[in-house]
Amino acid sequence: MQAEENTLEKVVFETSVEIKNADGLHMRPAMQFVDVANKFECDITVSNKANSVDGKSIMQMSMLAATCGTKLKIKAEGVDAQQAINALRELVEEEHFDEPTPSEQKKR
C-alpha cells in the first residue's frame, strides 16, 4: 500500500486483495462491496487481469466474475482514499463477505 504526496487533496491508495469465499464475487457480495464503496467520497476502481471497473457500480462489479482465489487490485483516489481501502480490504479478506471459505464449507 502506498500513498502519493498530498497535493490538492489528490490522495491515491492501492491494495491487492484475494477473494476468499467459496462462491466468489457473486451478486450479493458485489452489492456489499458497492455499498461500502459508496460510503466514501473517493473514486474507486477495481481491476482483475483483463478489466478495470467502477467499484461503485453493481453492474460493473458483476462483470469481474471474480471466482474464489482471484486477486483484485483496488485503487482509491480522493480525500478518504485510505479509509476506503481499509474498509474494502477488511470486507473482502477478513470478513470474506460473511460467507464460508472453501475449507469452512467442507466442514458443514
Binding site: A22, L25, M27, R28, I58, M59, S62, A65, T67
Partner: protein, 157 residues
C-alpha cells in the same frame, strides 16, 4: 461463455403476461420447465427459491433490467431465459424504476465459477445501452434470439 451456451431460446417470452414480479418469475420458470431443462417436478420449488432470493435483495440492478437467479440441484449447467414486458414490472429495483427486460438464471449448486462466468457475460452486455435498447425493441422471440446470436458471434472475433 456465450448466450447460446446457457440461454434456452425456446423459453424466451417476448411479451410477458404477468404484471407482477412474482408472476414474471413464475412465468419464466414455467417456460423453462416446459422445455424439459429443469428435470421433473422441480419448477414449484425453483419458483419459491427465486422469489425468496429476490425478497432478500432485489436483482433489479437499475436501467430497466433485472436478473433473478438461484442455485438448484435440478440443473447440471447454467440455464437461462429472457422475458420482456412493455408495461414494465415493479422489481423494487435499486433505481426505483420499472423493469422491462428480465433475465432469469438457474445455476448448478456445485459450480459457483460457472455461475459467475454466465453473470459476467450477461452484465457485459446489459451494461451496454445499445444492447438494452435493442433488447427492449425486440418484439418476437426470434428477434431476441437473433440479437443474442449476433452478439455471440461478434464477441468471438
Amino acid at each position: 461463455m456465450k448466450f447460446a451456451d446457457f440461454v434456452c431460446f425456446e423459453a424466451i417470452i417476448p411479451e410477458l403476461k404477468a404484471k407482477s414480479r412474482n408472476g414474471v418469475i413464475t412465468e419464466l420458470v414455467s417456460a423453462l420447465d416446459k422445455t424439459g431443462r429443469l428435470g421433473k417436478n422441480n419448477s414449484k420449488e425453483i419458483i419459491k427459491a427465486v422469489i425468496k432470493r429476490e425478497k432478500e435483495a432485489s436483482t433489479g440492478m437499475g436501467k430497466g433490467v433485472a436478473v433473478p437467479h438461484v442455485k438448484s440441484r435440478a440443473v447440471k449447467d447454467v440455464v437461462a431465459t429472457i422475458g420482456q414486458s412493455s408495461i414494465g414490472i415493479d422489481f423494487s429495483s435499486l433505481d426505483k424504476k420499472l423493469v422491462y427486460s428480465v433475465i432469469l438464471l438457474i445455476s448448478p449448486t456445485d459450480d459457483p465459477d460457472r455461475h459467475l462466468q454466465a453473470m459476467e457475460y450477461v452484465f457485459k452486455y446489459l451494461q451496454d445501452e445499445k444492447f438494452r435498447k435493442f433488447l427492449r425493441q425486440s418484439k418476437t422471440a426470434e428477434e431476441i434470439e437473433d440479437l443474442l446470436t449476433e452478439v455471440d458471434e461478434n464477441s468471438s472475433i
